[in-house]
Symmetry: C2
Subunit: 125 residues, 2 copies
DNA sequence: TTAGGTGCAAAACCTTTGCCATCCC
DNA sequence: GGGATGGCAAAGGTTTTGCACCTAA
Protein backbone atom coordinates (compact mmCIF):
# COMPACT_ATOMS: atom_id res chain seq x y z
CA UNK A 1 0.00 0.00 0.00
CA UNK A 2 0.91 3.61 -0.38
CA UNK A 3 2.28 5.13 2.77
CA UNK A 4 3.25 8.65 3.54
CA UNK A 5 6.64 10.26 3.45
CA UNK A 6 7.84 13.78 3.93
CA UNK A 7 9.13 13.78 0.36
CA UNK A 8 5.73 13.01 -1.07
CA UNK A 9 4.08 15.61 1.10
CA UNK A 10 6.58 18.26 0.14
CA UNK A 11 6.11 17.48 -3.54
CA UNK A 12 2.36 17.76 -3.28
CA UNK A 13 2.63 20.97 -1.30
CA UNK A 14 4.90 22.44 -3.94
CA UNK A 15 2.51 21.59 -6.76
CA UNK A 16 -0.42 22.95 -4.81
CA UNK A 17 1.41 26.14 -4.02
CA UNK A 18 1.54 27.36 -7.59
CA UNK A 19 -0.82 28.12 -10.41
CA UNK A 20 1.90 27.38 -12.90
CA UNK A 21 1.77 23.96 -14.37
CA UNK A 22 5.23 23.00 -13.32
CA UNK A 23 7.68 20.57 -14.79
CA UNK A 24 9.30 17.83 -12.75
CA UNK A 25 12.49 19.86 -12.71
CA UNK A 26 10.69 22.94 -11.34
CA UNK A 27 9.07 20.87 -8.62
CA UNK A 28 12.42 19.33 -7.80
CA UNK A 29 14.01 22.75 -7.39
CA UNK A 30 11.13 23.87 -5.22
CA UNK A 31 11.21 20.87 -2.93
CA UNK A 32 14.97 21.11 -2.59
CA UNK A 33 14.55 24.28 -0.59
CA UNK A 34 12.91 22.17 2.06
CA UNK A 35 14.64 18.86 1.53
CA UNK A 36 18.00 19.70 0.00
CA UNK A 37 19.11 16.17 -0.70
CA UNK A 38 15.94 14.89 -2.32
CA UNK A 39 16.64 13.25 -5.63
CA UNK A 40 15.02 13.88 -8.98
CA UNK A 41 14.19 10.20 -9.22
CA UNK A 42 12.09 10.50 -6.09
CA UNK A 43 10.23 13.42 -7.58
CA UNK A 44 9.44 11.42 -10.69
CA UNK A 45 8.42 8.38 -8.68
CA UNK A 46 6.05 10.38 -6.54
CA UNK A 47 4.59 12.28 -9.45
CA UNK A 48 3.77 8.99 -11.06
CA UNK A 49 2.19 7.76 -7.84
CA UNK A 50 0.13 10.90 -7.37
CA UNK A 51 -1.00 10.70 -10.94
CA UNK A 52 -1.95 7.07 -10.57
CA UNK A 53 -3.91 7.85 -7.42
CA UNK A 54 -5.79 10.56 -9.25
CA UNK A 55 -4.46 13.35 -7.09
CA UNK A 56 -2.82 15.28 -9.90
CA UNK A 57 -2.99 15.37 -13.67
CA UNK A 58 -0.18 15.01 -16.11
CA UNK A 59 -0.72 17.32 -19.03
CA UNK A 60 1.43 15.62 -21.58
CA UNK A 61 2.49 12.15 -22.25
CA UNK A 62 5.89 12.13 -20.75
CA UNK A 63 8.88 11.40 -22.87
CA UNK A 64 6.26 10.40 -25.27
CA UNK A 65 7.13 9.64 -28.81
CA UNK A 66 6.14 12.16 -31.44
CA UNK A 67 3.61 11.02 -34.00
CA UNK A 68 3.06 12.68 -37.32
CA UNK A 69 0.02 13.24 -39.49
CA UNK A 70 0.01 13.63 -43.24
CA UNK A 71 -2.95 15.97 -42.94
CA UNK A 72 -1.68 19.44 -42.26
CA UNK A 73 -5.10 20.91 -41.54
CA UNK A 74 -6.26 20.92 -38.00
CA UNK A 75 -8.59 18.08 -37.14
CA UNK A 76 -9.49 15.93 -34.19
CA UNK A 77 -8.09 12.59 -33.12
CA UNK A 78 -8.98 9.54 -31.17
CA UNK A 79 -6.25 7.67 -29.33
CA UNK A 80 -6.67 4.20 -27.96
CA UNK A 81 -5.31 3.94 -24.45
CA UNK A 82 -4.52 0.29 -24.86
CA UNK A 83 -2.89 -0.18 -28.27
CA UNK A 84 -2.01 3.48 -28.72
CA UNK A 85 -3.41 3.66 -32.23
CA UNK A 86 -4.51 7.06 -33.44
CA UNK A 87 -7.43 7.67 -35.73
CA UNK A 88 -8.53 10.83 -37.50
CA UNK A 89 -12.06 11.82 -36.65
CA UNK A 90 -14.62 13.04 -39.10
CA UNK A 91 -15.86 15.82 -36.89
CA UNK A 92 -16.00 19.46 -37.92
CA UNK A 93 -13.49 21.70 -36.20
CA UNK A 94 -15.27 24.22 -34.04
CA UNK A 95 -13.55 27.50 -34.80
CA UNK A 96 -16.21 29.52 -33.01
CA UNK A 97 -14.84 28.12 -29.81
CA UNK A 98 -11.58 29.93 -30.45
CA UNK A 99 -13.39 33.19 -31.01
CA UNK A 100 -15.58 32.88 -27.97
CA UNK A 101 -12.70 32.00 -25.68
CA UNK A 102 -10.58 34.76 -27.14
CA UNK A 103 -13.31 37.19 -26.11
CA UNK A 104 -13.75 35.61 -22.71
CA UNK A 105 -10.11 35.24 -21.74
CA UNK A 106 -8.30 38.03 -23.50
CA UNK A 107 -5.85 35.51 -24.87
CA UNK A 108 -5.35 35.56 -28.58
CA UNK A 109 -6.36 32.04 -29.54
CA UNK A 110 -5.33 30.73 -32.93
CA UNK A 111 -6.46 27.13 -32.80
CA UNK A 112 -7.05 24.25 -30.49
CA UNK A 113 -6.12 20.62 -30.23
CA UNK A 114 -8.72 18.06 -29.27
CA UNK A 115 -8.00 14.42 -28.61
CA UNK A 116 -10.43 11.77 -27.45
CA UNK A 117 -9.20 8.87 -25.38
CA UNK A 118 -10.66 5.46 -24.88
CA UNK A 119 -10.68 2.00 -26.42
CA UNK A 120 -10.71 1.32 -30.15
CA UNK A 121 -12.84 -1.41 -31.66
CA UNK A 122 -10.16 -4.05 -31.48
CA UNK A 123 -9.36 -3.34 -27.84
CA UNK A 124 -12.90 -3.53 -26.50
CA UNK A 125 -13.43 -7.16 -25.60
CA UNK B 1 15.84 28.24 -49.25
CA UNK B 2 14.53 24.77 -49.04
CA UNK B 3 15.56 22.58 -51.90
CA UNK B 4 14.42 19.12 -52.76
CA UNK B 5 16.15 15.86 -52.03
CA UNK B 6 15.25 12.27 -52.59
CA UNK B 7 15.34 11.74 -48.85
CA UNK B 8 12.73 14.37 -48.19
CA UNK B 9 10.53 13.04 -50.95
CA UNK B 10 10.79 9.49 -49.70
CA UNK B 11 9.90 10.60 -46.19
CA UNK B 12 6.84 12.45 -47.37
CA UNK B 13 5.78 9.55 -49.56
CA UNK B 14 6.09 7.19 -46.62
CA UNK B 15 3.95 9.38 -44.39
CA UNK B 16 1.37 9.80 -47.10
CA UNK B 17 1.26 6.10 -47.76
CA UNK B 18 -0.20 5.20 -44.40
CA UNK B 19 -3.23 6.03 -42.32
CA UNK B 20 -1.30 5.24 -39.19
CA UNK B 21 0.11 8.24 -37.45
CA UNK B 22 3.65 7.04 -37.54
CA UNK B 23 6.57 7.75 -35.29
CA UNK B 24 9.90 8.99 -36.59
CA UNK B 25 11.31 5.54 -36.07
CA UNK B 26 8.53 3.92 -38.13
CA UNK B 27 9.07 6.40 -40.93
CA UNK B 28 12.80 5.75 -40.77
CA UNK B 29 12.27 2.02 -41.14
CA UNK B 30 9.92 2.59 -44.03
CA UNK B 31 12.23 4.90 -45.91
CA UNK B 32 15.16 2.58 -45.37
CA UNK B 33 13.58 0.08 -47.74
CA UNK B 34 14.13 2.63 -50.45
CA UNK B 35 17.22 4.43 -49.20
CA UNK B 36 19.00 1.89 -47.01
CA UNK B 37 21.65 4.22 -45.70
CA UNK B 38 19.44 7.15 -44.77
CA UNK B 39 20.07 8.29 -41.24
CA UNK B 40 17.59 8.84 -38.47
CA UNK B 41 18.91 12.37 -38.06
CA UNK B 42 17.86 13.14 -41.60
CA UNK B 43 14.39 11.86 -40.89
CA UNK B 44 14.09 14.11 -37.87
CA UNK B 45 15.46 17.10 -39.72
CA UNK B 46 13.01 16.66 -42.57
CA UNK B 47 10.06 16.05 -40.31
CA UNK B 48 10.82 19.33 -38.61
CA UNK B 49 11.04 21.07 -41.98
CA UNK B 50 7.80 19.59 -43.27
CA UNK B 51 6.08 20.58 -40.08
CA UNK B 52 7.43 24.10 -40.28
CA UNK B 53 6.27 24.40 -43.89
CA UNK B 54 2.80 23.30 -42.88
CA UNK B 55 2.92 20.13 -44.92
CA UNK B 56 2.42 17.76 -42.04
CA UNK B 57 1.22 17.98 -38.47
CA UNK B 58 2.96 16.82 -35.35
CA UNK B 59 0.50 15.39 -32.89
CA UNK B 60 1.84 17.15 -29.91
CA UNK B 61 -0.77 17.23 -27.29
CA UNK B 62 2.43 16.20 -25.67
CA UNK B 63 5.33 18.52 -25.37
CA UNK B 64 8.69 17.02 -24.76
CA UNK B 65 8.56 17.91 -21.10
CA UNK B 66 5.83 16.72 -18.80
CA UNK B 67 3.85 19.32 -16.95
CA UNK B 68 1.69 18.62 -13.96
CA UNK B 69 -1.57 20.05 -12.73
CA UNK B 70 -2.77 20.12 -9.15
CA UNK B 71 -6.32 19.77 -10.39
CA UNK B 72 -7.04 16.12 -10.91
CA UNK B 73 -10.36 16.65 -12.61
CA UNK B 74 -10.37 16.96 -16.32
CA UNK B 75 -10.46 20.52 -17.55
CA UNK B 76 -9.29 22.57 -20.48
CA UNK B 77 -6.09 24.50 -20.94
CA UNK B 78 -4.64 27.37 -22.82
CA UNK B 79 -1.00 27.27 -23.79
CA UNK B 80 0.93 30.30 -24.96
CA UNK B 81 2.99 29.50 -28.01
CA UNK B 82 5.55 32.12 -27.14
CA UNK B 83 6.27 31.83 -23.43
CA UNK B 84 4.85 28.33 -23.06
CA UNK B 85 2.81 29.23 -20.01
CA UNK B 86 -0.25 27.10 -19.33
CA UNK B 87 -3.48 28.42 -17.87
CA UNK B 88 -6.53 26.55 -16.67
CA UNK B 89 -9.69 27.61 -18.43
CA UNK B 90 -13.00 28.18 -16.77
CA UNK B 91 -14.98 26.36 -19.40
CA UNK B 92 -17.35 23.50 -18.71
CA UNK B 93 -16.16 20.13 -19.92
CA UNK B 94 -18.43 18.85 -22.63
CA UNK B 95 -19.06 15.23 -21.72
CA UNK B 96 -21.85 14.87 -24.22
CA UNK B 97 -19.21 15.06 -26.90
CA UNK B 98 -17.76 11.81 -25.63
CA UNK B 99 -21.13 10.13 -25.77
CA UNK B 100 -21.98 11.36 -29.21
CA UNK B 101 -18.65 10.35 -30.66
CA UNK B 102 -18.83 7.00 -28.96
CA UNK B 103 -22.09 6.41 -30.79
CA UNK B 104 -20.76 7.70 -34.06
CA UNK B 105 -17.43 5.94 -34.11
CA UNK B 106 -17.94 2.76 -32.15
CA UNK B 107 -14.91 3.62 -30.06
CA UNK B 108 -15.43 3.58 -26.33
CA UNK B 109 -14.53 7.10 -25.40
CA UNK B 110 -13.79 7.90 -21.78
CA UNK B 111 -12.67 11.51 -21.92
CA UNK B 112 -10.99 14.05 -24.09
CA UNK B 113 -8.20 16.54 -23.88
CA UNK B 114 -8.66 20.02 -25.25
CA UNK B 115 -5.93 22.61 -25.44
CA UNK B 116 -6.14 26.07 -26.94
CA UNK B 117 -3.06 27.67 -28.44
CA UNK B 118 -2.21 31.27 -29.00
CA UNK B 119 -0.70 34.24 -27.23
CA UNK B 120 -1.24 35.09 -23.59
CA UNK B 121 -1.79 38.63 -22.41
CA UNK B 122 1.84 39.31 -21.75
CA UNK B 123 2.97 38.03 -25.12
CA UNK B 124 0.58 40.08 -27.24
CA UNK B 125 2.41 43.27 -27.94
C1' DT C 1 29.79 28.18 -57.13
C1' DT C 2 27.54 27.74 -52.91
C1' DA C 3 23.93 27.45 -49.67
C1' DG C 4 21.45 23.77 -48.14
C1' DG C 5 21.12 18.70 -47.33
C1' DT C 6 23.16 14.18 -45.73
C1' DG C 7 25.43 10.47 -42.85
C1' DC C 8 27.51 9.40 -38.92
C1' DA C 9 28.28 9.52 -34.27
C1' DA C 10 28.20 11.85 -30.16
C1' DA C 11 25.68 14.76 -27.20
C1' DA C 12 21.61 16.43 -25.06
C1' DC C 13 17.55 15.77 -22.81
C1' DC C 14 13.98 13.90 -20.00
C1' DT C 15 12.59 9.91 -17.50
C1' DT C 16 13.09 5.35 -15.54
C1' DT C 17 15.44 1.81 -12.98
C1' DG C 18 18.65 -1.11 -10.06
C1' DC C 19 20.65 -1.38 -5.83
C1' DC C 20 20.94 -0.95 -1.25
C1' DA C 21 19.90 1.83 2.82
C1' DT C 22 16.13 3.70 5.42
C1' DC C 23 11.61 4.41 7.12
C1' DC C 24 6.76 3.59 8.26
C1' DC C 25 3.09 0.56 9.76
C1' DG D 1 9.96 -7.54 10.44
C1' DG D 2 8.83 -6.53 6.04
C1' DG D 3 7.15 -4.10 2.46
C1' DA D 4 7.23 0.62 0.80
C1' DT D 5 10.12 4.58 -0.10
C1' DG D 6 14.40 7.21 -0.87
C1' DG D 7 19.17 8.56 -2.65
C1' DC D 8 22.37 7.91 -5.98
C1' DA D 9 23.99 6.94 -10.27
C1' DA D 10 23.69 4.54 -14.31
C1' DA D 11 20.84 3.20 -18.09
C1' DG D 12 17.12 4.04 -21.37
C1' DG D 13 14.79 6.07 -25.19
C1' DT D 14 13.92 9.96 -28.18
C1' DT D 15 15.56 13.93 -30.47
C1' DT D 16 19.16 17.24 -31.67
C1' DT D 17 23.63 18.65 -33.25
C1' DG D 18 28.62 19.17 -34.93
C1' DC D 19 31.27 18.16 -38.65
C1' DA D 20 33.00 16.78 -42.99
C1' DC D 21 31.22 15.51 -47.31
C1' DC D 22 27.85 15.81 -51.02
C1' DT D 23 24.32 17.82 -54.20
C1' DA D 24 20.77 20.59 -56.19
C1' DA D 25 20.07 25.02 -58.19
Amino acid sequence: MTRKSKQKEAILKTIRGTTLHPTAEWIYEGVRKEIPNISLGTVYRNLRLLKREGVILELDLAGSISRFDKEAQNHYHFRCEQCDCIVDLDEAVNTELNERLTRQTGFQIFYHRLEFRGLCNGCQS
